[in-house]
Symmetry: C2
Subunit: 332 residues, 2 copies
């Protein structure tokens, strides 16, 4: 067992600003009203899906800066990542920013990974202001991980729908806003799931491991939080997470929310097991949970985004799907 299970952010860096932008389908879902902006053009004014995702991500960061009246030049670092090969959605989004840039890869757990690193960089006094940004786009993900869109392949009930969405958070060493109070770096969990259309099942054990370690180490209970938020387990993975933790004597059922399960009306929108993608939990964090903390409706939440660390090639080589879940505690 590792010596230090959790990350303590003793200086409690602040979430100074945040923003979310989503695509049309996400805007038509039950969460549609909470995002800063819903864009009906899936190309976001660009020529390719990949350029569209970069535009979505850079627009979201720009909006977060604008909302907080922060100049881009005030940022000491941008921590960003996405699902696209070689994380180009993020690199191309940020290349003209002139801000120091750390690329991260945590698949759909990226919002939690980048936010945790932004917290560490500001808490430790290494930076004053750091942005944590992520995105996903339905069409870039489908092209890369599955089939050409025009092929019209059938999706099994356990499949999730990659969200066209982005979230951006600016973390600052000082200020009067929701605080990052702790975190937990995820451990890779791989229980042998090989079905790339069943990510929720592959990722649930990672979320269970991270949440359990955090609760144990902090001596807190599920009822100490207004919400324990996972990212993208969807309707298949969510009950599995609740069951896994119940077997360890921890009942999170009353406070558990999953961004993948929240994003769409699965019956009306034909999205099967729910939403997924780095931008799913990123946009719902920034559109729904951070405003609730800001307004004082929530006092304290755990945000544990989950990621499936596979490539399009790895299942073809007979590999199972490793999952990971990073966690950040956010207090009002």
């Amino acid at each position: 067992m590792p010596e230090q299970q959790i990350i303590r952010l003793g200086h409690q860096p602040r979430i100074e600003s945040y923003a979310s932008i989503v695509g049309q389908k996400e805007g038509e879902g039950p969460m549609g009203g909470c995002f800063d902006s819903v864009q009906t053009d899936p190309y976001f004014g660009e020529k390719t899906w990949e350029q569209a995702e970069s535009r979505l991500q850079s627009d979201t960061l720009e909006l977060a800066l604008q909302k907080g009246q922060i100049r881009s030049g005030e940022l000491d670092c941008i921590v960003a990542g996405d699902l696209i090969n070689q994380c180009t959605a993020s690199a191309f989004a940020m290349r003209s920013s002139e801000v120091p840039y750390l690329g991260v890869f945590g698949a759909c757990s990226t919002m939690a990974e980048s936010l945790l690193l932004a917290g560490i960089l500001t808490d430790g006094g290494y930076c004053h202001k750091v942005a944590a940004v992520t995105s996903s786009h339905f069409s870039t993900a489908e092209r890369q991980f599955r089939f050409p869109l025009s092929y019209g392949g059938q999706r099994p009930p356990s499949a999730q729908w990659t969200c066209t969405a982005s979230g951006a958070v600016v973390v600052s060493a000082t200020g009067n806003a929701p605080r990052l109070t702790g975190g937990c770096i995820g451990r890779i969990q791989d229980l042998g799931v090989t079905d790339a259309n069943n990510m929720g099942t592959a990722m649930a054990p990672a979320a269970a491991d991270t949440i359990l370690r955090y609760l144990t180490e902090t001596g807190t209970k599920p009822e100490d939080y207004d919400a324990i938020v996972t990212g993208d387990l969807g309707h298949v993975g969510s009950p599995l997470l609740v069951d896994l933790l119940l077997k360890q004597g921890v009942d999170i059922a009353k406070v558990h929310c999953d961004c993948g399960a929240m994003m769409f009306d699965d019956k009306q929108q034909d999205t099967h097991a729910g939403g997924s993608g780095c931008g799913c939990s990123g946009s719902i964090l920034c559109g729904y949970f951070l405003p609730k903390l800001q307004k004082g409706e929530f006092r304290r939440i755990l945000f544990a985004a989950t990621g499936a660390l596979l490539s399009a090639m790895s299942p073809q080589q007979g590999e199972s799907i490793p999952g990971i879940s990073h966690l950040v505690e956010i207090s009002a």
Copy 2:
């Protein structure tokens, strides 16, 4: 301009152990004698190139732990990355480790990015011991970024040769070993180079930006260092870096070393502009520079690995190649 240009590691975390493993061609080059291990089997006992790279990376970390008499369970975190889609070489290498895992993507700058983050995590008291690991494999990179190996495509003189190599460093909050004394997070630089067979030219401006910012902010001069090491500019990018800095009034020619230019005997080994890949600078740092610091032959170096943040698809969409360079200062 960002407020904080550099990262100061006031507690000076130690490099407790390190290891390097390379493939046969790298072992036959001028640096061959400095690596811990040269493996003649390009599959490293596995069935696919991708699994081979994962094995290479996990073996290298295991060797670093073994050399330092460190148990895997003593690690609080592994920071790792590679060039393969969705960074699967690293995720699959580390999935059975049970150690908290942060995936990063900095292309060939990954060794500097992961080492800098390991330094921050230990310097800030967030972790006791952190491993920074990276790898590349000629055959995984060729398959993914270029042509099938059996196609036998001709390589232009400016092309570099992706190294089959891995480096692993264990950073510890305390101890008696080379120290991490500072660092600099790179800014993305894109001067419009579109030729994916000329990465050195694409990356040189990023190295120049990072090195110049570090020297300026610390008030140091090139002659204060025994070596200013770049990763993978090769024979085309290296003179360009020297020129770019000379135009800013900084002459690094006498102390500049480039891992890409050092790895191969380009005339004998037909490697054209030199080596590249995350493992190139990773293995030469661990095989050549860290031992020199350990023995006291070098007092102080700057390690500025460089990365090209493109995908196989981005040049096809008419995109130029963004470069980045992260830097770590290491003292004996």
